[in-house]
Amino acid sequence: MDKNNKIKIIVNGKLLTVNFKFSLKNLIEQLKTPINKVAIELNKEIVDKKKINKIFLKNKDKIEIVHFIGGG
């Protein structure tokens, strides 16, 4: 956490700066991600999508948000 109450997180390999006390739900809403079409990993642990409002992000957290694409 820096002086401005901001934390740095990495989402799908990209660095994002968000406010302290930012929940995973806040992130999903900010990214406008359709929650029923994705899976979320926080620091390599799969997250229960029902609990994202209770998960608050910490500095240097790594988040992966994945979905289905065309493939063989």
Binding site: E64, G70, G72
Partner: protein
């Protein structure tokens, strides 16, 4: 006539053609080709959501997973850990339990790493997954996969995307003889006759992606593959005549003038 049903992990399917959703020009083309093919199962891959460009179309907007079964695949995974991670995430997206496992071992020919594949099958089966396994056509490894609880054995006909057709017919025949779960030819089909051949050998289904997606006319090829699979299956079930090196007239001599 009795309905010829394909049963995979207790789910029933009428179509014996499974198609991939990769390599199409766009989602519309992909969705239309799938519809024409009559496939009830499509393979899909798990990848990062594009967080900077949200205008990108989503697969689920074009292919309804309630109407067509998504078969999450581990395409691009080279280790057991990556494959496990991918499929656990896939399950989390929406409760998918029937999955396709593919652990590659060689970047050039895309042959599967069978040691990693076997390890992953064991773990996934214990976690309650129904695993359809892309594998080599080696009967011993295929037996091990089956003994580890694989829900379908899916040997390659030839390298992925090569279109070479069935290269090792002897092994496929041996596999047909020994395999109790569905045996599905996955990878290497190039044209309709390859699909017919696989089905005439008694395979339970075929999985095709590149041969349709990269054909000059994908929709027409999707239709050709649909009928190839139906034709090959019916031919297999019909009890073919024994091949004979002598001719046998089709018309009786009786009444000949």
């Amino acid at each position: 006539m009795k309905l010829d049903i394909l049963k995979i992990a207790n789910k029933k399917f009428k179509s014996r053609l499974i198609v991939g959703t990769g390599k199409y020009k766009n989602m519309q083309e992909c969705a239309k080709a799938i519809k024409i093919s009559g496939a009830e199962i499509v393979t899909v891959a798990v990848r990062r959501v594009n967080i900077s460009d949200r205008s990108k179309p989503l697969l689920m907007d074009y292919i309804n997973p309630k109407k067509i079964m998504y078969l999450p695949n581990t395409a691009g995974c080279f280790t057991s850990n990556d494959a496990l991670r991918t499929l656990r995430l896939a399950r989390e997206i929406g409760g998918w339990k029937i999955v396709k496992l593919e652990v590659l071992g060689d970047k050039k020919n895309l042959f599967p790493d069978m040691i990693e594949t076997l390890k992953s099958t064991e773990v996934l089966t214990k976690e309650g997954f129904k695993v359809m396994v892309y594998c080599n056509d080696d009967p011993l490894m295929c037996k091990r996969l089956e003994n580890s609880g694989a829900s379908a054995i899916m040997p390659l006909a030839a390298p992925i995307g090569s279109g070479l057709g069935i290269q090792n017919k002897t092994n496929i025949k041996i596999l047909r003889h020994q395999t109790k779960v569905p045996l599905i030819i996955d990878a290497g089909i190039g044209q309709a006759s390859d699909a017919v051949e696989a089905m005439e050998m008694g395979c339970d289904a075929v999985l095709i992606n590149t041969a349709i997606a990269k054909a000059k006319k994908p929709f027409q090829m999707a239709e050709a593959m649909k009928y190839a699979v139906i034709s090959g299956r019916k031919s297999f079930l019909s009890g073919r005549i024994m091949p004979n090196f002598h001719g046998s007239p089709s018309t009786t001599k009786k009444g000949l003038i």
